[in-house]
Each structure stands twice: as C-alpha cells, then as structure tokens.
Symmetry: C2
Subunit: 236 residues, 2 copies
DNA sequence: TACTAGCCTGACCAACTGGTCAGGTTCAAC
DNA sequence: GTTGAACCTGACCAGTTGGTCAGGCTAGTA
C-alpha cells in the first residue's frame, strides 16, 4: 500500500488549470525591472484577462479560475492582487467607463452640429471596433439591471447625459437641426454604434462568417453617420 | 450517540428553497382538468420562469434552483419535464426566435417603403415594450458568441436577413429610398428598437428612476420612426 | 373497486465555486 | 552577506451547482 494520507482525494490542484496558451505574465514580469514593474505587469495581465472573461460570461458566469488561466497566473496569485471577484470587476468597469466618456469630447468642444455629431459617431464606432470587450461588459451589466454599477448610472452617467442633451436641445431650439428629442437621438447613437461591438458575432455570421474588413467597416461608419445626420435634418 | 449514518451531512434539502412568493403552479394545475392540463400548465410555468432567469443572468449565471423557485415547483420536478438546463434553454430560445420573425411581416406584405418601414419599426418597438425578456435572452446569447444558438444564426436568421435586404435593395435601386446599404439599415433598426428592451434599466434610471410611461413610449416610438425615415430620405 | 401510467419530490451526489492560508521565493536596501 | 517586505502558490475548505433516483401520490379507465 502507498503512504498517502487517507483523506487526500486525488483531485487535481487549482493551479493545474494554467493553460498551455497562457501569455505567461509571470515570466514577462520577471524580465522587467523591480517589484513595482512586477505588480504593474501582473495587474494589467489580470485586468485584461478579467475584461475578456467578464465580456464572455458576465459577472455571475465568469470564474476566477478562468480569469487566472487567461492571465497566466495561479488563482491564488490573482487573489493576492485583487481580494475578491467583485473588486476585480469594479476595476474593470472603472476603466471602461472612463474610455467611454472621453469619446464624447466633440459634443463639448465643437459648436457645429454636423461636425460634432459626425465626430462623435465616428469616435463611438471606432471604440466599438477597437475595444469591443468594454462595450460587452457594460451591456451585460446593464441588461442584468446593473446590480454592481447602479451608482455609475445614477450619478456620473445621469449628469453626463443631461449636459449633452442640453447641447442637442439648444441646436433644435435654434433650428440648426430638426426638432428631435435629445435622449432619443443619444440612445439611437449609442444603440447603433455599440451594436457593432455587442452583436459583432451576429454581424460576422451574417457577413458570411467573415469579420467586417477595415474597408467594410469604414463604409458602414459613413453609412451610419449619413443616416443619422439626414435623420436630424442635416446634409451628410 | 445517535443513529445517523456517518456520511449523512446536515445540509438542507433542495426543495427547501421554494420561496413564499412562488406563483404556485402546482395548485393551478390541479385546479385544471386532466393530466394533459397539468403537463401544459407546469411546462408553461417553468418556461416563463426560465425566460426570466435566463434574461437576468444568462445561461451560465442562471441556476435551475432559481428557475424552479420562480416557477413554484421543486427542482426535481423541473428536471422531470426538462431533462437538462440546456434543453430548457433551447425551448426558451425557440419561442423567442419565432416571435421575432413574425414581427417582420410588414416588410413582406407592404410594397410602399414608408408604410412598410413604419409598421416594422412600430412592431419591433412594441415587442421591446411588451416582451423585453426575449430580447435580453437573445442579446446575452449573441454577445457571448452564441455557443448554443449558432445554428439559428447560420441558417434561419441568415436566410431571413438576405430576403429582407433584397427588398430594401430593390427600393434603393428604384430610387424610392436613399441609396443606403440594406444591412446597415436593418442593424440600425434592430439596435435602436431592441435598445429599449435590453437597456431598459439604463433608460429608466436616466428617466429619473421612472419607467417610460405609455405616453412617453408612444412619443419615443414616433421619434425613432421619424429619424429613421428621414435618414433613408423619406418624409415621416 | 382495482389497476397503472404518469406525476411528484426529499434526499442525495460528484464536480465545481470563490476564497484562504501556511510556507516558500525573490528582490532591493543596508 | 543579512534582512525583511513583497511576491508567489499548492493544498485546502465550506458552500453551491446540475443532475439522479427510489419511492410515494393521483387521475383516469375498466
């Protein structure tokens, strides 16, 4: 007989699930200099992996094991940097929210509605193209009634939306665009542009299984802009 | 010492999680006549509960315990009617897909683009209002790369989309609408109308915490229709 | 009334979950 | 070199998960 203690089950340990394809954040970190570099590299690797897993499965469906695996670190190490799954999620959402708000600069800095709307729609389309994971995390969270980010919606997003709606309302009052309701227009822009991130898989499938090429996407961007500009009474 | 067998843990049984607020499907069924009625009533109760839980949490996040609880039946009974969580999910998606496709009748039966688009947009908006759960289940699934409904996307949705795109392309070719790409227009209609279901929580929050009233929603429906009609060169 | 096919469910299980922890390793400062 | 703070991780745990099953219950028929 062997000498294994009787209650030791033959289950595989947690760290056995580190995949072969893992980006080996640890090795990268060790190549960099200093402990600060190690912390920075590992945190970034974990945050990137978390964003991708949360986008794929939502908060409930995501597992810390899979996040650790994609980040190339043992699960215990993930919990060394981020004490709980929720803390990790909040950090991911923080980053997404900031990127989003920054895209809206044109609405503040440009007075001509045609130019401002064109730039804003283009910026949002580009974000959907280059940074689709963030949009998916946000959409999943809001669809599930935002149990973890309700404070964002009630404070920062509410204020942001009110400010931009005021600009659009002024344009309409001054007769520079057709008299559309600002919120309806904003929602249409958000919905349409984010559709290319959130429903990217469906769009790819309906494009014959091929992701939209850069040329196709550029054309779509212009078409979307044209329809919306005409929709508010402007000439594209 | 007591007589309990040593490996019997004192964990609470599964059926203890039937909540007080459960709609008591069992009682309803027993009031109806016959075993066929029992089966029908229980299946419908479970499907309705499943749709709501899948909409709230996605496939991975949903638990059969919660579905059974919302349906008012013990978990074991749920598995009597639906052998696996996946089988239940497929039945839910089947129903959603059928409702969706039926809403597109106007595009087939009406030749005038202004009337056809108006009716289609109105039908999709009404669906988002009256049946938001379906839209959420679909969105969650597609966002997570549709691992369970890819066959729908590749066959039925692809054919459906191609047919309706042909109609829109013909309108554009005949100069009855502006020369827009059919897919871009369809995606914009889907994205905008479904936004009022999928992002309903965000819209409510930005509406001061109040759900859009019937009057507000009717106004939004007209505004959305007007912007899109103008967007394709029609007079609303 | 007796029978039985279909309906119902408490108790159970193996697998998996988020999170912990003791004990080891590495690095920068002295 | 020595020190100690920061980093790392295999093994572990209590709670939860989807799913099973033996055995009881009930409606409809003969």
């Amino acid at each position: 007989m062997d000498t294994t203690r009787p209650q030791d089950a033959p289950n595989s340990p947690d760290s056995a699930d580190v995949g072969v394809e893992a980006p080996a954040a640890g090795a990268t970190a060790r190549r960099a200099r200093g402990k600060a570099a190690i912390r920075s590299v590992n945190e970034q690797a974990i945050l990137a992996a978390a964003e991708s897993v949360f986008a794929d499965y939502g908060f409930q469906g995501a597992t810390t094991r899979l996040i650790a695996q994609r980040a190339g670190v043992p699960k215990a190490n993930l919990h060394y940097y981020f004490p709980t799954k929720l803390a990790l999620y909040r950090r991911v959402v923080d980053r997404i929210f900031q990127v989003w708000l920054d895209a809206a600069d044109p609405l503040d800095t440009i007075d001509d509605p045609r130019t401002a709307l064109t730039r804003y729609i283009h910026a949002k389309m580009d974000l959907s193209r280059q940074y689709p994971l963030g949009s998916k995390v946000w959409a999943t969270e809001v669809m599930h009634r935002a149990p973890l980010i309700q404070d964002y919606l009630e404070t920062r997003l509410t204020e942001w939306t009110a400010d931009r709606a005021a600009v659009i309302d002024r344009w309409a009052r001054e007769g520079r665009i057709a008299p559309v309701a600002a919120h309806t227009l904003l929602y249409m822009i958000w919905a349409t542009t984010q559709h290319y991130a959130d429903f990217g898989h469906q769009i790819t499938t309906l494009n014959g299984g091929q992701e939209l090429s850069d040329a196709q996407f550029a054309r779509v961007k212009d078409e979307v802009t044209a329809i919306i500009l005409r929709g508010v009474g402007l000439v594209p």
